[in-house]
């Protein structure tokens, strides 16, 4: 059917509906917009007259997802937390590793380093007293104690060495689910894995409706304020800019920039001959896992839209599971960072 015909049919249906006094779907009496009317109506954003009122369903109780409801100043959203069996990699909270990297001193290369080590200079602390490198070594030590990750990375520190400066509970693995590929469309789920005490806990923040995104983000900002380093898969290009754009969208202050390890870049440097570097491929080849009944990522947006429309928790549950799986794999793959030469994602670019 052509567009003209579809429009004519809509007009006809509306004509019938308008004839019935109880009609709920009466549309505007098609007056041409007058120039300038827009600004005035911006004030009354939510309530333009004549457009069919949208009956908003009351949100699905959080309990239906095994979650609890979080109340914030800008509304509520859901939070689901559960312990996961995954051990944090050994290099977390181990600053010794970076201290033995003498190459962080400008001018010291592998040859000098080897020579120094042969002389018994084992660490930067030892190097402080050195007549030639001492001053520079003290500068590096200052950077280390201030945990200036970006500058250390510039000097050649590996992600594992820098992560060693953070205690396990300061590091979070993060993965988001969105309704599109461009930051214009809402995100609805943030999965985070952190240590609570000694226990790794998966925390999933999700919106049951587009309108809950704002509350979710304000809470996320609080969570991120407690975290010092983030681990993602392709977060440099996707998750982090997306989150940034959503904060802009809602006019919320941006969370502080965190040290970020993007495992995608580590995976790209693996010596193995992998068919591609998607997360599921890495799971299969490196972790020997196979996902069963997993929701394919490209279906996630439409499933979510459908969930918003129908309010059926059964639609969202597999997506929550998919996200949980992603975050868990992040944690399991974090050991990749420990490999030598893992230089992180300094060379990554964000498309503009």
């Amino acid at each position: 059917m052509s567009l003209f015909e579809r429009l004519a049919r809509l007009r006809a249906t509306r004509g019938e509906a308008a004839a019935r006094p109880e009609a709920a779907c009466s549309a505007p009496a098609a007056a041409r917009p007058t120039p300038g009317s827009f600004q005035g109506s911006m004030a009354a954003r939510e309530g333009a007259p004549g457009v069919r009122a949208f009956a908003r369903r009351s949100p699905v109780p959080a309990a239906r997802f095994g979650a609890s409801e979080v109340q914030t100043a800008c509304g509520s959203f859901c939070r689901r937390a559960r312990p996961l069996a995954v051990a944090p990699p050994a290099f977390l909270g181990r600053p010794e590793r970076i201290l033995t990297n003498l190459k962080l001193v400008w001018g010291v290369g592998p040859v000098t380093e080897a020579a120094l080590k042969a002389q018994g200079v084992r660490s930067l602390t030892d190097l402080q007293e050195h007549p030639r490198w001492g001053e520079e070594a003290r500068r590096v030590l200052a950077l280390i104690s201030a945990r200036r990750a970006a500058e250390l990375r510039r000097r050649g520190a590996s992600d594992a060495e820098i992560l060693g400066l953070f205690r396990p509970h300061e590091v979070a693995c993060l993965d988001i689910e969105t309704t599109g590929l461009w930051g214009n469309q809402p995100l609805f789920l943030v999965g985070l894995l952190r240590l609570e005490g000694e226990r790794p806990v998966l925390e999933q923040l999700f919106a049951r409706h587009y309108s809950e995104e704002r509350a979710l983000l304000t809470y996320l900002a609080e969570v991120l304020a407690e975290v010092k380093a983030l681990v993602t898969f392709n977060g440099k290009r996707f998750d982090l800019p997306y989150i940034e754009q959503r904060f802009i969208y809602h006019g919320l202050p941006q969370p502080e920039e965190l040290f970020h390890v993007d495992l995608y870049f580590h995976a790209r440097r693996l010596p193995q001959n992998l068919p591609n570097h998607r997360l599921v491929t890495l799971e299969e080849y490196l972790l020997g896992m196979e996902r069963e009944g997993d929701v394919p990522g490209y279906l996630v947006p439409s499933i979510y839209h459908r969930f918003v429309e129908t309010g059926e928790p059964e639609l969202l549950l597999p997506v929550l599971e998919h996200n949980a799986q992603d975050v868990l794999s992040l944690a399991r793959l974090l050991h990749l960072v420990g490999r030598e030469g893992g230089r992180g994602c300094a060379d990554a670019v964000r498309s503009g």
Binding site: S2, L3, F4, E5, R6, L7, A8, L10, R11, A27, P28, A30, A31, R32, P33, P35, G36, S37, F38, Q39, S41, M42, A44, R45, E46, G47, A48, V51, A53, F54, R56, T179, G180, L181, W182, G183, N184, Q185, P186, H209, Y210, S211, Q245, I248, Y249, G251, Y298, P301, S302, H305, V308, E309, S351, G352
Partner: protein, 774 residues
């Protein structure tokens, strides 16, 4: 310059035989200055003085005052009247006052953008940058954050800026001014798309906390303020009347004698002008014409003189342009032959004579071309050479129409559902649409959103419409074309992409065997790959052109308005036009002789659009038959001529409008002439024709009746794009029908027996030819 001396040389020339049919002296005027209501910031004043501007012209001061009062304005002034200060002054004033403020400048072409960047950078008051398809990715973030004036084009705004508005937060949040130059070029499909894009911009600016003011400029058209309001959706104050000084101009209208061509006329005029040392600019309508003029000049004019003339076409590199400019300034070059590309843009300095070889399509662009001479207070000469085309001939007979208030309107149709549908997807993707947003657009948007909802592209939630697609909808909307986009690839050059065209044009111009002219090159189409949306071409050198033959039918879907004029029914409504290409003929380039043809079978095309139609009353048709005239030929001729004259009222050209005539339409039950927009959903051309039906038909009658030809010619009832190869046509019947439609009486010439016989012969001949070749 001594205009009279040059005129004497022309009229004393042996080739002169009274070609000048009209001369109008336009007196010059001195500059008119005015003080703005409030003082300019000191830095701006100093910068202006450095550039030699000590006082403002009246229109500049008026523009500044109105903009400072917070009004949106449209400035209408002639070429070279200091138009750019009308927007640069208010913008820079604001930028100097509010150190965070930003401005966005939108120009229709990249060349113009570059020129204006230089102009604004000369002030050295605010960082400005071009942001368009040529901007390197690495520079983009820096420009977004730091440039306070960004210059771009509508396409980039639509495709690159708005969909990424979250990256543009800082710019949009402080957007104080939007400047849109040359708005008369934003008409038809392109204009409508730009209007929607500007509404998207306003909505996003509001989301980021800004409410920018608009400053627009336009050439002189019938409806500048109305057009500006339609484009922006805002009330706009009109600023007109230039205070810039103007030299006296003499405007000549030139009739090309029979048995010669306008090109020969142009060449000998150029020779006379070069001999007179008159600095001359000649405008031709197409690139090939420019080349042909130049070739002819080299052949016929003595080398030392001929060498002082050069060509200027679009597509020159900046360095080549500058070289031509320099040589013109230095006087080493005396003249330049240019396409319309020169109309907007480059500075060729002070010229004295302007030749306009063929009506450029609109009065506005004619004046822009004429505005190339006689800047400041020097006398100058403009010669309009009419070619064989109904509009050219119309102006030749009605030169006064040229100097009165223009009748041509720039039209857009923001209610076109086809265009709005694509734009609604873009808008929803950028930001969920709220009920309040609906006020920005035509009411049909609600229904379009319902349709998108049915198709699963948007979802209504929380009272808002969310885009649920995962694509980049802006990529699917081309501002300048509609429907499918076909690629043109040159087989001779490893399938290099030479251009694109929209689907409807591809069927009627890029059918297999078609000779297709593109940027001065001649190609033959070897293959039209319809599913692949590609036409494969090869460069050829041939002496013929091709004309397409089509079968067409028109179905009325809905009548929107009806009226009666002198007992004849006129209507406007939605139509479904079915077209099928059936074949083509080859015609000799010079003689027009038919060299052969081919039949083709391409799939049928369906266009849903808006059209007007009229049905002559039974009395009138009876009268035509009683006079022994051909009703079909008469209706067909009326259709051609009316389409040719429609641009007098609606700024468009022949390819924007189509038509169909029939002696019996199944729905009207009467003989009917249809004139319809050539774009899905319509863009207002035919609607304007309906609104101005009486004026349009009066102009049409005049054009047909006053043409001295006997049986019709390209100056009256022939159409270069007729799908029936201009058959049948009956000029006498057309004149009778037009009289009748206008309630006038007309007695056809006593005997048409002879003509009828001729026609029968011709038809037979053509039939035989068709049988032989098709």
């Amino acid at each position: 310059m001594d205009v009279d001396r040059i005129l004497r040389s022309i009229t004393a020339h042996p080739y002169y035989q009274g070609q000048i049919t009209y001369r109008r002296h336009l007196p010059g005027r001195p500059a008119a200055y005015a003080e703005p209501a409030g003082p300019l910031p000191a830095e701006l004043k100093a910068s202006l003085e450095r550039a030699g501007v000590k006082r403002l012209y009246t229109h500049q001061a008026a523009a500044l005052d109105a903009a400072r009062r917070g009004e949106n304005i449209v400035v209408v002034t002639p070429t070279a009247s200091g138009k750019t200060l009308c927007y640069n002054l208010p913008v820079l004033t604001e930028l100097l006052t509010d150190r965070e403020a930003r401005a966005l400048y939108i120009f229709p072409t990249k060349a113009l953008t570059q020129d204006q960047l230089n102009a604004v950078q000369r002030f050295r008051l605010a960082p400005a940058a071009v942001y368009d398809g040529d901007t390197p990715d690495a520079a983009k973030a820096e420009i977004r954050e730091n440039a306070r004036i960004i210059l771009t084009n509508p396409d980039m705004l639509h495709l690159g800026i708005l969909p990424n508005h979250l990256k543009w937060h800082n710019f949009l949040a402080h957007l104080r001014f939007v400047v849109i130059d040359e708005i008369h070029t934003y008409r038809g499909v392109f204009g409508t798309q730009v209007a929607h894009t500007l509404r998207r911009l306003r909505r996003l600016a509001a989301h980021h906390g800004a409410d920018p003011q608009f400053i627009l400029t336009s050439a002189t058209i019938a409806n500048p303020a109305e057009h500006a309001q339609h484009l922006t959706g805002l009330p706009v104050t009109l600023i007109e009347g230039s205070g810039a000084p103007q030299g006296a101009r003499d405007f000549l209208f030139w009739r090309v004698p029979q048995h010669t061509t306008y090109l020969r006329e142009v060449v000998w005029l150029l020779e006379v002008l070069l001999e007179e040392q008159a600095r001359t600019i000649a405008f031709a309508r197409a690139r090939q014409v420019v080349e042909r003029i130049l070739r002819q000049v080299r052949r016929e004019i003595a080398p030392p003189l001929a060498a002082r003339l050069t060509a200027y076409r679009g597509g020159y590199l900046a360095a080549e342009r500058r070289e031509i400019e320099l040589e013109l300034f230095s006087g080493r070059l005396l003249g330049v032959v240019a396409t319309n590309a020169l109309e907007l843009g480059i500075d060729v300095g002070e010229m004295e004579v302007c030749l306009i070889a063929g009506y450029p399509g609109t009065i506005a662009s004619t004046w822009q071309q004429a505005g190339r001479v006689g800047r400041r207070e020097r006398d100058s000469l403009v010669i309009f050479i009419a070619v064989a085309n109904p509009l050219d001939q119309y102006f030749l007979r009605h030169p006064e129409a040229f100097f009165e208030k223009p009748t041509e309107s720039a039209l857009i149709d923001t209610a076109n559902p086809y265009l709005l549908l694509g734009q609604a997807r873009c808008a929803a993707q950028e930001l969920p649409l709220t009920p309040a947003d609906l006020a920005l657009w035509d009411p049909v948007l609600v229904d379009l959103l319902t349709i998108l909802e049915e198709d699963g592209q948007v979802m209504r939630a929380d009272g808002r419409w969310f885009y649920t697609g995962q694509d980049y909808p802006a990529e699917k909307v081309n501002l300048r074309t509609t429907g499918r986009t076909f690629q043109l690839r040159d087989r001779g050059e490893k399938n290099r992409l030479v251009g694109t065209m929209d689907g409807h044009t591809a069927f009627s111009e890029a059918y297999p065997g078609a000779i297709y002219l593109h940027q001065g090159e001649t190609y033959r189409v070897e293959e039209l790959d319809i599913p692949g949306e590609t036409a494969y071409l090869r460069r050829v050198d041939v002496d013929y052109y091709t004309m397409v033959g089509r079968e067409k039918s028109t179905e009325i879907l809905e009548t929107l308005s009806e009226k009666e004029l002198y007992g004849h029914r006129f209507a406007v409504g939605r139509l479904r036009v079915r077209t099928r290409v059936t074949g083509y003929i080859k015609k000799h380039e010079l003689t027009g002789q038919v060299l052969g043809g081919e039949s083709l079978s391409l799939p049928e095309e369906v266009l849903e659009t808006v059209g007007m139609w009229f049905c002559p009353s039974p009395e009138l048709t009876a009268q035509v038959k009683a006079a022994g005239l051909d009703l079909m030929g008469g209706l067909h001729a009326v259709e051609h001529a009316a389409i040719a004259l429609l641009p007098l009222y609606a700024m468009c050209d022949r390819s924007d409008v189509g038509g169909l005539s029939t002696v019996l339409h199944t729905q009207t039950g009467e003989p009917t002439v249809f004139i319809h927009d050539a774009y899905e959903g319509g863009v207002g051309f035919a609607e304007k024709g309906y609104e101005k039906a009486e004026e349009l038909l009066a102009a049409t009658l005049e054009a047909v009746a006053a043409c001295p030809c006997e049986n019709g010619c390209p100056s009256c009832i022939h159409s270069p794009k007729c799908s029936n190869f201009n058959r049948p046509l009956d000029k006498e019947a057309a004149i009778l029908i037009l009289h009748g439609l206008l309630g006038r009486t007309y007695e056809p010439a006593a005997s048409n027996g002879m003509k009828a016989l001729e026609r029968a012969n011709l038809t037979r001949l053509l039939g035989r030819l068709k049988g032989a070749t098709l």
